[in-house]
């Protein structure tokens, strides 16, 4: 880094060590906040902190500049301790314009720091943000209790680049690098990863590498030199399990899990999808992995996507498709067909705010009951949920395994939060992944009247799976379809007893999945006052809440359900060891219905539908309230 080295900082500024911190970058959609956030994340990962992120962007592609609905934010929580949520409260807000301040001020903890791009606080922007004629920077009342740093971000960026011979637009766009540099300095993060990344990103345009790197360093140096900032923070490395790590986003992790399942099972991955937020990135990701034999198919709609998945799976491939809520409705009929034909495949649903088009870029967990029951007739299937960005890998892998083992479609539930969020991820070794047995049928399986015959619905007694015979296998020609099938032969049957039998059998097959589930992992106390039951992306907030509750003296535990259908068989005995049951969900209460029905226990729901994940404090409060009320 030559003479720009920042190694001298610590001598002039006081350095304060923290266990954890939460930073939020917020600005216009066009301000590059998502990039800024991810670069800060990378630097933080390199500093060996644990971390969790929450990107949050508007539904519009480029909402008009300056408006509150055009604000894009990236929140990052990191620490030397285990970090599981993007942070309940913000320690540092970087606000690039008035709208960003307006939208996010309430998230900053009292005493927290706010870095403000002073140059953006002009009358026009103030009006757009709804501040009217009064500049909030002049409003002491409003900003009382915060440490406010007004920085002339835009102007200093211009200054820095005045000799770079770049057009005004380009210059203005680099101001996020100033903010990044400053933030990196504030938390004593290395700037090398960001410098490298810039070099790569603009490899074809050296002038932009130079300019952006220059601004980045200027930001860093600004922190170092200006007297505004008297404290610099340092967050020591977290104690993470030994291993090789990378930062990973949920969608990437999902994609890798699918590729891993395909590689280990030697089943070619056929992925079909119709773009929909927030699932599209999975399509983007997988379409790059063609050299793993992955074929991606952008279908004309979600119905075609599930149809193609069924076709590929009939053909002996690992058929996978992904969508979000509205798309899942359209796949319902096809999934029902797959249930009837008993073909293995994985349907990923990256949930978003509903109903209808709802809040397409916001997170929610409100498709659980749709996943369970959103098909005509009795059409049960296994449901698996991913709890963290890194866990998406394992959940995806597991979904594929279950699908193939039991010859059934599996729904894998993720949500916008887990898919877009990122965390440090210990990279597994391919050889440590569970093996995958794919027993394609290759010969007749029954003598009927002396003739070798293939019965496509003969069962494996253990898994209740029927055989998978792929076209191209001589002698196993057979026909599948959506009409009720006769036991074993698979012929069309309208026989009343057969229908009852097959309906029960299909239900039992799904129940069989519980056989291979590992014992439940109860976080915190394994018996006591309160158990919190969650599923999917709420894991971080729930575990943090359990820590706090235990710190407060409650005997509290938590169970995060990876498998929602079937429920793990030891769930009942875990529950029996607690007095109270709290079920926090980002919906109006869905898992809680399943649990109440199953166990007839007074589970209490905690609902949130605000397009945002839980704060740990919300769960803590609800838990305390509930335990108090009922005792």
């Amino acid at each position: 880094m030559g003479s720009d080295s920042s190694n001298t900082v610590k001598e002039v500024k006081s350095v304060q060590s923290l266990r954890e911190a939460t930073v939020l970058f917020a600005g216009d959609s066009g301000d590059g906040m998502q990039l800024t956030g991810s670069q800060f994340t990378l630097a933080t990962a390199f500093a060996h902190n644990d971390l969790s992120t929450l990107p949050d962007f508007p539904a519009e592609i480029r909402a008009p500049a300056g408006t509150t609905y055009g604000v894009s934010g990236y929140q990052l929580h990191f620490g030397s301790v285990s970090v599981r949520t993007p942070g309940d409260e913000v320690d540092l807000l970087v606000a690039m314009n008035p709208a960003a301040l307006k939208v996010n001020l309430s998230r900053v903890r009292s005493g927290g720091a706010i870095v403000i791009n002073e140059n953006a606080f002009k009358p026009h922007n103030l009006k757009l943000a709804g501040y009217g004629d009064v500049n909030p920077l002049d409003n002491e009342e409003l900003l009382r209790g915060y440490q406010v740093f007004k920085v002339e971000l835009s102007r200093m960026t211009e200054e820095a680049l005045k000799d770079h011979n770049l057009d005004k637009k380009v210059i203005d766009r680099s101001k996020n690098m100033f903010a990044l540099g400053l933030a990196l300095w504030l938390y004593s993060r290395p700037i090398e990863p960001a410098l490298d990344w810039l070099a790569q990103k603009f490899s074809s345009r050296p002038e932009l590498i130079k300019a952006n790197q220059h601004v980045l360093k200027k930001g860093f140096h600004y922190g170092e030199t200006t007297e505004d900032f008297i404290v610099q923070y340092q967050i020591p490395p977290a104690e993470l399990e030994p291993g090789v790590y990378r930062a990973i986003r949920g969608v990437e992790s999902l994609a890798l899990g699918l590729v891993a399942a395909s590689t280990k099972s030697k089943l070619p991955l056929f992925y079909s999808s119709y773009p929909i937020t927030p699932a599209s990135d999975l399509l983007h990701n997988l379409s790059r992995h063609k050299n793993f034999g992955v074929k991606t198919f952008q279908a004309e709609d979600e119905i075609a996507a599930i149809g193609a998945t069924i076709g590929a799976s009939f053909g002996g491939c690992l058929g996978v498709c992904a969508t979000s809520g509205p798309g899942l409705t359209l796949k319902a009929e096809g999934i029902g067909l797959a249930v009837m034909m008993e073909l293995p495949m994985v349907i990923v649903n990256v949930q978003r705010g509903g109903p209808s088009t709802g809040l397409p870029t916001k997170t929610e967990q409100s498709d659980l009951l749709q996943a369970m029951y959103g098909r005509n007739g009795e059409a049960p299937l296994p449901i698996i949920a991913a709890s963290t960005p890194g866990d998406c890998f394992h959940a995806a892998y597991e979904a594929c395994r279950v699908a193939v083992r039991h010859m059934t479609p599996v729904i894998l539930l993720a949500d916008g939060y887990v898919a877009n969020g990122s965390e440090p991820w210990r990279i597994p070794s391919s050889k440590d992944l569970k093996d995958f047995h794919v027993p394609f049928a290759n010969k007749p399986n029954r003598k009927v009247e002396g003739k070798d015959t293939f019965l496509p619905y003969l069962r494996n007694e253990d898994t209740l799976a029927r055989p998978w015979a792929k076209p191209g296998t001589p002698g196993l020609e057979h026909r599948l379809g959506g009409l009720e099938k006769e036991h074993e032969t698979g012929s069309v049957s309208y026989d009343p007893e057969n229908h009852q039998f097959m309906t029960t059998l299909r239900a039992n097959k799904v129940k069989k999945v519980a056989q291979i589930l590992p014992p439940l992992d109860v976080y915190g106390d394994t018996e006591g006052d309160l158990v919190i039951i969650g599923w999917g992306s709420t894991q971080g907030a729930i575990r943090t809440a359990v820590d706090r509750l235990r710190d407060g003296g409650l005997k509290a535990g938590a169970v995060q359900l990876r498998n929602i259908n079937p429920l793990p068989s030891d769930l009942g005995s875990v529950l029996s060891r607690f007095d109270h049951y709290l079920v926090p969900e980002l919906n109006m209460g869905q898992l809680v219905r399943i649990l109440r029905d199953r166990f007839l226990l007074p589970f209490v729901k905690l609902s949130k539908v605000q397009g945002q994940p839980f704060k740990a404090s919300e769960i803590v409060d609800a838990a305390i309230l509930h335990c108090k009320q009922s005792s």
Partner: protein, 357 residues
């Protein structure tokens, strides 16, 4: 009379005389392609003749039975796969093309046939039909057009004529019909043909040509539903009226009908009938059919909507262009060649990593 542009001179269309393509095939007979399921169509249904023709044709084609897959939607016609001793799927209403696309894209070596009805393909399934045609997935689509919903007991379909009285249109339907040939041409189909259940020879010949074609072959088959729409096509299939009411398109041959006594020529951009026996015009004046001309195919397809015109049968259009699965496969191969066969562990590490010990 317009002449063929030089670049489009007739060539021997593939599939014609395909027996010659595989001269030494052992004789497997039709039975090898009959499944053990009882055929459950109404007695007299046109579907029987089509089934028999397909079962007879299969052994003559250069494919192994285990590589053959029939995929259908829902409808009387869509029961077809149950009766074929091949791989098959009776999927859901209108979606057969999507299943077939997934199968063919992932297993290009299979020989896939889609069987569908006018309701299945053109009502609920219209979107998938046009998309599979534009993508040019290499398979055969057999649309059994009986101009009615058979399985649901007789409602008008998107090919039923206006004014049709059915259970759901007791005072006559007010929906104008689709012309399946025009729709498929509009959707850039690379092989478009029409034939009929009762003309099994022609049917077989068209199916053979469709099979030989590389790409999506769309075949409209007029099929008599003797229960709910009996005789809808008798004008085109019964001896008394057939010569006057039909014209058979043959590549490189003049468009003549009525046993050669009448012809079709172009007036402006529209086809018109002329009488050879009147003596003013001869067969030289008739359009020489060119199945490689999309423009001609579209012009001729519109004759079906004109009651005073003979109904065209045969191959309307044929074009050679890459198939979807071929392009997809080539892309996979090209990327693999460039990057090498994927290594999972490398991929998992393909990011900025750090080690904690």
């Amino acid at each position: 009379m317009p002449t063929l542009p030089p670049s489009k001179k007739p060539t021997l269309p593939p599939g014609l005389g395909s027996r010659r393509l595989s001269p030494s095939k052992p004789k497997i007979d039709r039975k090898a392609y009959s499944s053990d399921q009882d055929v459950r169509w109404c007695p007299g249904c046109g579907d029987y003749a089509i089934l028999a023709s397909v079962q007879r044709l299969m052994p003559q084609l250069d494919v192994k039975r285990e590589n053959v897959v029939f995929i259908s939607g829902i409808g009387c016609s869509s029961r077809f796969p149950y009766y074929m001793e091949t791989y098959g799927m009776h999927s859901i209403h209108g979606r057969a093309p999507t299943v077939a696309t997934g199968l063919k894209a992932s297993r290009p070596e299979l020989d896939v046939w889609v069987v569908t009805g006018d309701g299945d393909a053109l009502s609920i399934g219209g979107n998938h039909l046009i998309h599979i045609l534009r993508r040019n997935v290499n398979l055969q689509i057999l649309l059994f057009n009986n101009q009615i919903y058979g399985l649901t007991k007789g409602q008008f379909s998107p090919t039923s004529e206006i004014g049709k009285v059915t259970k759901s249109s007791p005072f006559g339907s007010v929906s104008p019909p689709f012309n399946p040939i025009s729709i498929s041409l509009g959707a850039s189909a690379s092989f478009v043909a029409r034939t009929a259940d009762r003309d099994t020879k022609h049917l077989t010949q068209i199916l053979r040509r469709a099979h030989a074609h590389q790409g999506s072959s769309f075949i409209e088959i007029y099929q008599n539903c003797n229960i709910y729409n009996d005789g809808a096509f008798f004008a085109f299939t019964e001896k008394a009226t057939k010569p006057e009411r039909t014209i058979y398109l043959e590549h490189g041959k003049p468009m003549l009908f009525s046993n050669g006594s009448k012809g079709i020529r172009l007036a402006g951009f529209s086809p018109v009938v002329f009488d050879l026996e009147e003596g003013h015009l001869s067969s030289e004046d008739a359009i020489v059919y060119d199945e490689t001309s999309l423009e001609l195919a579209e012009i001729v397809s519109r004759m079906s909507q004109q009651p005073d015109m003979p109904r065209p049968f045969g191959v309307f259009y044929r074009e050679e262009r890459p198939t979807y699965e071929q392009m997809l496969q080539e892309q996979v191969m090209a990327v693999t060649e460039k990057r090498g066969q994927g290594d999972l562990d490398k991929l998992l590490h393909a990011a900025d990593t750090w080690t904690i010990s």
